[in-house]
């Protein structure tokens, strides 16, 4: 009897989770459609977009700088002994450069951005929802979706690529420090080696996909916060699930975008 009850409770909980999952997918899709419907319609709320870009950029800058630097440093330190085994240490700047520019820079920056920003947006909009601030905005004949959501998604979409380019340079600087520690390489040689191996075309798909990642971070954070319910508990849940969902979506979309890039440019 007890086993029967617990297995039926287990099934119900799976059913509820699946329901929640599909509701979320439908909600994200609706939010996405609504974003593209509103983004080209005036008023454009330029001041709000600029404010969010500033805030999000500045808020994330210290953590992405430290992480970018360490990732570059550790990657070079880890790669060096492997290349040394094959006598290919000269390829260290090139291989590290390509890894950072194509994949590590964009994805690591996006994941950190998701952790920092998506939760922040989720918590901010969630608390606005439960304290009726969003209702107050709606009653005052201002569209809260346009003012709160569109501006944040737009800001995230355009600030993340800028941060990514910055992180790529910081990570390459970190890698240089590691190279100097292990090998006696001049900065000119290192720079030339990186520039020789990393072409401009390597950076384009890497940076381009961060527009998508930024969009995902803004979309998920806004969706989770905007639809928060159940008071402060709901705000907490919105904040945490925003990070989990946006990080997971970044990794899934990374896989898809890499596949598309390789399909479009097989020699990439």
């Amino acid at each position: 009897m007890n086993n029967k009850t617990s297995s039926s409770a287990y099934l119900t909980s799976i059913e509820n989770r699946l329901n929640e999952f599909f509701i979320m997918i439908a909600g994200l899709w609706t939010f996405s459609v609504q974003f593209f419907r509103y983004v080209f319609v005036p008023p454009y709320e330029i001041y709000e977009i600029r404010k969010h870009m500033n805030e999000l950029g500045i808020k994330t800058l210290p953590i992405v700088s430290v992480t970018g630097f360490i990732i570059g440093l550790v990657l070079a330190m880890q790669t060096q002994p492997v290349l040394a085994r094959f006598g290919a240490e000269a390829y260290l700047p090139g291989s590290v450069g390509i890894s950072i520019v194509r994949e590590l820079g964009p994805v690591i920056t996006a994941l950190i951005f998701a952790g920092r920003v998506s939760s922040g947006i989720g918590a901010e909009l969630g608390s606005m929802r439960v304290t009726e601030q969003i209702d107050a905005m709606e009653v005052s004949a201002v569209d809260p979706f346009k003012f709160l959501v569109v501006t944040r998604i737009f800001a995230c979409t355009f600030i993340l690529p800028i941060l990514t380019v910055y992180v790529i340079f910081i990570a390459l600087a970190g890698a240089y420090i590691a190279v100097v520690l292990v090998q006696n390489m001049t900065i000119e040689y290192y720079t030339n080696a990186v520039l020789y191996s990393v072409e401009f075309g390597d950076a384009i798909p890497g940076v381009a996909k961060t527009f998508v990642f930024g969009y995902i971070v803004g979309l998920v954070g806004s969706y989770k916060g905007y639809t928060a319910t159940n008071g402060t508990e709901g705000v907490g849940r919105a904040s945490t699930t925003a990070v989990v969902v946006s990080s997971l979506m970044i990794l899934i979309f990374d896989m898809i975008l890499v596949k598309i890039t390789l399909w479009l440019w097989p020699t990439f």
Binding site: P43, E132, V139, A141
Partner: protein, 249 residues
């Protein structure tokens, strides 16, 4: 000014409003009483379509609210002020930014005109010194006053108050009630006030209704309702009086 016919609203199987009909004349102050969970706030939210009713008709200023498209609805909302229970000030904005928020979006005032309007409305609620403060720096009563100032800055024809004195001490609550009355008179607004506060109702109300079991069960002036021999009203208002007296003592 406001006509509501056969309004129904349910949340799943829980019926909150069941065939509510009422009228509010222009310039009139209507107070809505009722036990917690009887749908008083839901009624206000349906009036501005923050919630969609399941059935019924709402006419405000001659317009059928439920049949308006979003543009028409927003035009109507510009003529309606709403004071939320929590005041709902935008906490990322200062008092000045809170007040200029609707002005920037709906009117073509010059910055000087805007500033003058903000100063005027803050003087009305006696909080000019709070102009550059953030909502987190304000007390509950101050937040209510600023919320009120933000609602009236666009000089709406209709004001909806959702428990304007809840959570305030009796003196502040009385001050807010008189302030609402004063603004009402000076701006000639119609208002619907949801409250549990009998003292507030006595100060503000021209007429009151009592919601019970999702319906408008009683209607009349405050003295008529409080002196009624109906068991429910006797019970309801004796509790209100006890609460009032407790608060005052």
């Amino acid at each position: 000014m406001v006509e509501i016919y056969n309004l129904k609203k349910a949340f799943n199987s829980h019926v909150v409003l069941d065939d509510v009909s009422l009228k509010v004349d222009e310039g009139e102050n209507l107070v809505v009483f009722g036990r917690s969970g009887t749908g008083k706030s839901v009624l206000l939210k349906c009036m501005v379509r923050l919630m969609e009713p399941d059935y019924g008709k709402i006419i405000i200023d001659g317009k059928d609210v439920l049949s308006l498209d979003i543009k028409q609805l927003n035009n109507l909302r510009k003529q309606i002020g709403f004071l939320f229970q929590s005041a709902a000030l935008y906490d990322s904005m200062s008092v000045r930014q809170n007040l200029e928020f609707p002005l920037i979006r709906h009117f073509n005032f010059t910055p000087e005109e805007r500033e003058q309007k903000i100063i005027n409305v803050l003087e009305k609620v006696s909080l000019l010194e709070a102009i550059d403060k953030m909502p987190s720096e304000l007390s509950g009563g101050m937040k209510k006053r600023i919320g009120l100032a933000r609602s009236i800055i666009t000089e709406p024809k209709l004001m909806l108050y959702d428990e304007p004195t809840t959570g305030l001490d009796p003196i502040t609550s009385k001050e807010i009630s008189y302030l609402i009355l004063e603004l009402q008179k000076s701006l000639n607004m119609t208002s619907v006030v949801v409250t549990h506060d009998l003292l507030c109702a006595e100060i503000i109300a021209d007429r009151a209704i009592v919601l019970n079991n999702g319906k408008v069960q009683y209607e009349g002036s405050i003295p008529e309702l409080t002196s009624s021999n109906d068991p429910f009203l006797k019970n309801f208002f004796s509790h209100e009086f006890i609460n009032e007296n407790k608060q005052v003592n």
